[in-house]
Symmetry: C2
DNA sequence: ACCTGAACACCGTTCAAGT
DNA sequence: ACCTGAACACCGTTCAAGT
């Protein structure tokens, strides 16, 4: 091999080194979202946060959408995947989706982002892969594993949306749960008897206890409805 | 009672009758969303659709947010509540949330709207009231009923988001399910074995069959985990 | 290769003015 | 009471120009 080093001496013209990078941009963008919600993420403000004119960002990124994709990838990487030391699949599944919720509670304003995006970047698929693996190893069939994952994933996203949507609401009170606002309004007891009766209960329930409890309710259904007889070899 | 009629003769000055109304505005706004997605709903375009300047809308509505609230109310009223002729609660619950999904499938671009809003207007609460009533009559306790409703509601919203989110994706293929795009990409089988194996299964599953099936899985879990012993009087 | 600044086609909303 | 038109403070993105 011909050594091609030192073709350029050390005193090369100070070729412009990038002050930015896609990961740095994504990080700053996520910080903007965390601090001020989705509307705070603006190309102009993002440039400002990075000490650069907004239009310079287009050197690194085709459009705003690509930045959102990068954020998505880094978010899913924050999920702390549980260890797989042959514990029961019920426990593993519960822990995995609790970890997913935990990650999003650290970025509550990004919940709508992960909820509304169809396709995640490749780096974001590790949690999904793990979820499918848990069910396959537990003996679920191909379709059973897909179904099981879909129930828990859909529920988790829906729950997180309800839990955090009060943040996106202009008329929000500094309480968790959107339903809190119901109790503060006059609910007509004649037309909405159950809602009036249960509004307070709905507020009092602490999400950190309710969420894993509800996960286990679903997992119980998965065990009795979707899982083949224990002892049977998993169908392929 | 003194008759106060005919104080004004018929030839009153043609006092400007409103050409618009809040319901008419909400209806036109929903149509814009249905046709072109959430970004298509713009005060200027909405005015144009109603044959009026954008700023005239502010005679009827304080801001764009109020229009979104009105849309929310009319959407929930479209849900066809099932008849309550003493059928098993499992059946009623399944039908109610299927009806909810059915309504939103008629307005797929509005899914993100109902998903991200914390507080619904009063007219929108009938389906929630019915859901709570179903569980209470089935013998669920106060907290059990709230929990049961929350699982099914969260799951339904999360499922609908996944089902329709491909519509909001710029890189979408005209297939249902966001996961479709996974299969069209190269999935590395070494790092994501389960996902590669199951991507096709995930696409083939027809949502209209999968959704009620998954509802019944959850309902099965509700029956075994949340419901008190049958025959017990419902605790208040 | 990297960054800038003016410009374009949009937003939601305010405000003074018309009838 | 209802509607208009100009204006303000924003958007994302393009494009020609600088180094």
């Amino acid at each position: 091999m011909v050594q091609q080093r030192a073709v350029e001496p050390d005193d090369t013209p100070p070729r412009a080194r990038p002050r930015l990078s896609r990961p740095a941009i994504a990080e700053a963008a996520l910080k903007l979202i965390d601090d001020g919600g989705m509307p705070a993420l603006t190309m102009r403000r993002l440039g400002q946060a990075l000490g650069v004119e907004a239009m310079s960002l287009y050197e690194y990124v085709a459009n705003k959408d690509e930045i959102l994709e990068d954020i998505l990838g880094s978010l899913f990487n924050e999920v702390e995947l549980p260890d797989q030391n042959d514990r029961p699949w019920e426990e593993l599944a519960c822990e995995l989706f609790c970890a997913f919720r935990c990650m999003l509670l650290a970025h509550p304003h990004a919940v709508t982002l992960v909820a509304s995006r169809a396709v995640q970047p490749l780096e974001a698929l590790a949690p999904i892969e793990m979820s499918l693996g848990i069910f396959r190893r537990a003996g679920f069939g191909r379709q059973g594993a897909v179904d099981a994952h879909r129930v828990l994933q859909s529920f988790t996203i829906g729950y997180l949306l309800a839990e955090t949507s009060v943040l996106n609401d202009p008329t929000a009170v500094p309480n968790s749960w959107g339903t809190a606002a119901y109790a503060l309004r006059e609910l007509p007891a004649d037309t909405l008897p159950h809602l009036s009766e249960l509004a307070q209960v709905a507020i009092d329930r602490v999400a950190d206890e309710q969420f894993p409890a509800l996960l286990m309710v679903i997992i119980s259904g998965l065990r009795t409805e979707l899982r083949p007889e224990p002892g049977t070899a998993s169908p392929t």
